[in-house]
Symmetry: C2
Subunit: 437 residues, 2 copies
């Protein structure tokens, strides 16, 4: 032993049982994406730095992790920016991918992408340097119908309903509507971003305080009128394009099967990025508001202006799976209920029957069960201890006694009950035992 | 447009239909691993450099890709090695993981791991800097029974039989047996590595040439006698521990359901790494020997000697999924047969019925089908063009004519046939149409 084994800071490394639960979560997300006909893509973990960092300023660059071989480390000492950098989200790689493969894709292009992304920020609690994002986007060429904006909350509803992390609410709003409301109050365009930045605090901070902050941007009277507008039901707002869009997205989302109890128009939802121009989404677990939005996104005008002359409007949404899972683990909601992938463990009862254990396992696997064979000729006590610790539900015992009696012994480790089963009925009995779970 | 969108060299980026095929391959591999009760783990893409590079020499370090934030780039200019490096395989991370989490794991620890790994080598055809590895290992504490050596070829057989890339052969050998054979010919221990390095060329190079190369190490007479031994059936070799082990692994593998036609004892299989001490494996596609081994591994004495005092013997095997898939693509064997995840596309026939399309899609999705809704009110010709290009098998049409007649029109785009189906029979008919595939 020469080096202490340590995990780098800012990553979520899981024990196998937790990994099983996380993997199930990612599988559910993937299935939910495919249920709506989204197509998978994967991009490399790193991009060329000049491609990745084209549209971003120095702040982003500070958070980027660069990739270098020993050879290029030499060059770096000359002060050159490294040629490769790990992607910090899946949106810039998507833009690059769509622009690069534009003529090979079918539009509207419906893609999903489940990958880890990397941020160079200082590791601290709840902040990861490596984390999974699960993204879907629908990308149009030249235009993209509003109906697609309703699909994304329907996808999200299906996934979180299946994940079973408790009640949740998908909140939707429309940036165009917000812009129109600000215009109706004669707030100058150059103050919109500041005003919306404060509006975004509604629901997270005290209303009086938010009003004071908006007042600093717009004046007190306008601030009060704005908050009054934002508190009204959509139907009571003045007619506008953004209002119509939001209503249509809401109605279509309900028609797609999302219950009204899980969908809410919330005019205080802004989303930080200026990038968004129409519909915006955030999603909250009703019983755990402090986790914040677990799934956010929106409509944007042009995905890849830096890479192509084609206009590519789109709408997308992203689940931050690592952060969500780690918080649910802490809250005890995402529990590692399953410790093993195996349904049965064939014990090594007598050495002369070793090949019989292999054959029994092969038979069970061919029937679709996941099966382990205990490899060594350890005492049965030690084998049962392994079975117990591994969490396998059934142990299969077959010694000369069982062979002579034409039976196999199944020990149900969940119930602590043994069954002597005629050899010919083994598969049937195992099916019965495992389906009672 | 300001930057040309380009993918970095040395990565395999796939179009969606190819990605679907690759994803199916990874899913099959994962299912195959779980069928034997292996447990998933994932480790971060990067490790601390001092942990990752502990046991490797300068050659490995040259092939490593380091990770740096802008802040640490400064330090690198002082000539310091960066703190983080991308993992170049999954074995060193496994060793670190097992040593770090030793007291939380159940031994024998059966883990699978499907992740991308990174090599800083010069990109060239068939050489990837980023590629998937799919690894399984069984790790014992202090000891690990030989029976586990037989499981790995059984796992591999199940997976490649299901993948359907044609006939394949799993070749097994035993390094202990090789050592014993070299000893029986009085080849000094310090020449074993050189001699085995040449033996490894058998089957890849001309036998006469290999014999000459071995003769340069051992002398001509010994070389001839060695090749004579290696050409014999196992049963005709002198008795030895390695011979017994190899025979037992072979017999147990057959008992696990691997047909003799897919399993072959081949005494010329060496595997490059000194790391291996017992059973070794290589796997070849019978019709494509030039691809080389598609899945290799072996038994080792101690996984994590640099990280822990515990002795952790193990046996493992690895599928290089990216390289394999890219070669199968080139050969036309891994074909992207499925272009979409969707089973049906609901067309937008008449704008006033838009919510009906959403409801139809919701109904089909609830029944388990993957469904898209065409979002815009484009002409039907354009919508069918999209359907055709996307590859969806069924289009669903529902206009006022169909509504008034109480039917839904299903167009089977594979057969070019339309069916008017009573509304109440929609699900049943779709099931029938999609199951005929």
């Amino acid at each position: 032993m020469s080096v202490e084994p340590r995990t780098p800071l800012g990553v979520l490394e899981l024990l196998p049982a937790q990994q099983l639960a996380f993997q199930r979560m990612l599988d559910t997300i993937r299935r939910g994406f495919e249920r709506f006909g989204f197509l998978p893509i994967e991009t490399p973990a790193y991009e060329l730095s000049d491609v990745l960092l084209t549209k971003t300023g120095g702040e982003t660059e500070k958070q980027v992790l660069f990739v270098q071989s020993t050879g290029t480390l030499e060059k770096a000492r000359d002060g050159k920016r490294p040629e490769l950098a790990l992607h910090f989200d899946l949106t810039v790689p998507l833009a690059r991918y769509v622009a690069e493969h534009e003529h090979e894709l079918v539009f509207p292009f419906r893609r999903y992408q489940i990958q880890r992304v990397y941020r160079g920020e200082r590791p601290q609690k709840g902040r990861f340097r490596e984390f999974y994002q699960c993204d879907i986007d629908v990308i149009g060429k030249d235009s993209l119908a509003l109906a697609y904006d309703a699909e994304l909350p329907a996808v999200i509803y299906g996934i979180f309903a299946e994940l079973g992390f408790g009640k949740f609410t998908i909140k939707i709003n429309n940036r165009r509507l917000l812009r129109e409301l600000l215009e109706s109050l004669a707030i100058p365009a150059e103050r919109h971003a500041d005003a919306l930045h404060e509006v975004d605090r509604l629901g997270k901070q005290d209303r009086t305080e938010v009003e004071a902050r908006i007042a600093a941007v717009t004046g007190a009277d306008t601030a009060r009128r704005l908050l009054d507008l934002l508190a009204r039901p959509l139907a009571e707002l003045p007619a506008s394009g953004g209002k119509d869009d939001l209503q249509r997205v809401y109605d279509t989302t309900l028609a797609l099967g999302v219950p009204a109890s899980a969908l809410q128009i919330d005019l205080s939802i802004v989303r930080g990025l200026d990038y968004y121009t129409g519909t915006v989404y955030e999603t909250f677990l009703d019983d755990h508001p402090r986790i914040g939005s677990i799934c956010s996104g929106g409509r944007y005008d042009n995905l890849a202006e830096h890479y192509t002359k084609s206009k590519l409007p789109g709408v997308g949404i992203s689940i931050g799976a690592t952060r969500l899972f780690s918080q649910l683990l802490e809250l005890g909601i995402a529990t590692a209920t399953q410790r093993t992938t195996a349904h049965a463990l064939v014990l090594h009862v007598e050495a002369p029957l070793a090949l019989e254990y292999a054959k029994l396992a092969a038979e069970l696997r061919a029937a679709g069960w996941n099966v382990e064979v205990y490899g060594g000729d350890d005492k049965l006590g030690k084998q049962f201890k392994y079975a117990d610790r591994s969490g396998v539900p059934l142990a299969i015992l077959y010694g000369s006694r069982e062979r002579d009696a034409g039976v196999v012994k199944i020990k149900d480790l969940r119930a602590g009950v043994e069954h002597d089963v005629p050899r010919a009925e083994l598969l049937e009995r195992i099916r019965a035992l495992l389906h009672t779970e």
